[in-house]
Every structure is written in structure tokens, then in C-alpha cells.
Point group: C2
DNA sequence: TTGTATTATTGCAATATTACGATGTTAAAA
DNA sequence: TTTTAACATCGTAATATTGCAATAATACAA
């Protein structure tokens, strides 16, 4: 009864789900797109750009950060949030592997 | 104040989030992998294979179906659930476009 | 028509996510 | 040191998701 039952899946399946979850909210997709397009990563701009409150943006950034997609300086003033391109490409590769190994053989 | 605020994003951003949401639960990833590997799509096998109840599997299948990833016979006995490969590849392309157009330019 | 097998739907409980106001923290400027 | 700017964290409310038991619907066989 209820949610979660996450220990019954293989590691690669769980990994795909974990990755997808990051992109499963438009705010996070928008944040990723925005920080990747900015030369200077002034962070409060994200709040203005997206149109959500600062705590909410901060929360979404934490989700993005938790999977290792952020790089830069994270403490104090003049913080720089940047996309970790290597990790990002790793995600792309993992998802493509999932897609390429999932091909229908019936119907 | 709570959830949802989904009307403030551009269409392409919302689309990526919608697609990702389907893969954001391991049960659905497992279902997709399983039905794609089976020659005959006997559906109750999914229940046995994944280890969740029949209503829960049915619910996940509905989510997968809603985005057009399923093909086949959907009513009555001996139902055949199959992956819509074209739609699946379309998702892959859309996600790759997102990845390829999101490249960091700072840090 | 009456079973029977198979999937869908409903109703409900548990948990997770999303969002924001209030407040705390941090580092640099004044 | 005090102020200030920029984020993080906490607490809380609203909503969404997940999961299953019970039940309904469907199609085929007998």
C-alpha cells in the first residue's frame, strides 16, 4: 500500500529511471537549458527567467546537483552554476544504450 | 501553493519532461524492456516478471500507452502489448536533440 | 448462456513531489 | 564589525504518484 518498491529492479533499470527523473519536470529542463546558454552563471537570474520562487529553484538545483550534473562554485556570494558537460554526455550515452537495446521483436 | 505550474514553459521543454516522465519509474522501464524482449506478448507474464500486482502493472501500462508507446490488440482475452518502435525512436530523437542543443559555454 | 481467463477500473491508503514564506547561512563590501 | 547580496534550509500546504484489494468488464470456450 503506497509508494516505493524500488528494490526489485536491476541496477541498470534503476539507473535509467534515476536519470529520467531529473528531466521529468519542466522546471529542471528549463534550468538546464538556461544555465547551459549563459556565459556567466549568475544564479538569481534563473529565478527571474523561469518564474518560480528562489527556494523552489534552489530545490530543483539540488535535484540536478545530486546526480552530478552541476559544476562550479557552490558557496557564498557570486555562485556559478554550470552544467557538467561530461556527466551530461554520460547521461545521453546511457539513455541511448537503453533505447538501442530496447527493440520490439513482436507485432 | 503546492504542485503544478505547468503553463509557464515552452512546448519543447514540456515535451521533454513528458517523455522523461514515462521513463522516470523503474517499473515502466522494466515493462518496456520486457515487452520488447518477448516474441509473444502474453500480458499477465509482466505481472509475474516484474513482481507488482496486476492493477499496478495495468496502471503503468496506461501511462506508457498514453504517450503512444504501445501497439497491438488492447481488448479482451489474449491481449498483445507491443512497443511502438517508431514512436520509441521518435522519443530517442527528441531526447538526443535536447542533449545536443544543451551544451555548456561557461566554467 | 454459463463459466473462465484476462485485463481494466474504482476506491483508498501511503508516500513523493512541488511550491513558497520565513528564516538561516555565507562571503564580500562598506 | 555591520551590512548586504545571494543561496540554502526549514516548515508546511497542496497536489501527484504509487500500490493494492475489490470489483467490473471483456472475449472466448464449453
Amino acid at each position: 500500500m503506497g509508494a516505493s518498491k524500488l528494490d526489485i529492479y536491476t541496477d541498470d533499470i534503476s539507473e535509467i529511471a534515476e536519470i529520467a527523473k531529473v528531466f521529468a519536470h519542466p522546471a529542471r529542463v528549463a534550468i538546464l537549458k538556461y544555465i547551459s546558454s549563459q556565459e556567466s552563471c549568475i544564479c538569481n537570474d534563473i529565478v527571474v527567467e523561469i518564474g518560480l520562487s528562489q527556494p523552489t529553484i534552489s530545490q530543483h538545483l539540488q535535484v540536478i546537483n545530486k546526480v552530478g550534473l552541476l559544476k562550479g562554485n557552490f558557496k557564498g556570494k557570486s555562485i556559478c552554476y554550470c552544467l557538467d558537460v561530461e556527466r551530461f554526455q554520460q547521461f545521453q550515452t546511457l539513455l541511448n544504450t537503453f533505447f538501442n537495446t530496447t527493440k520490439a521483436t513482436c507485432c
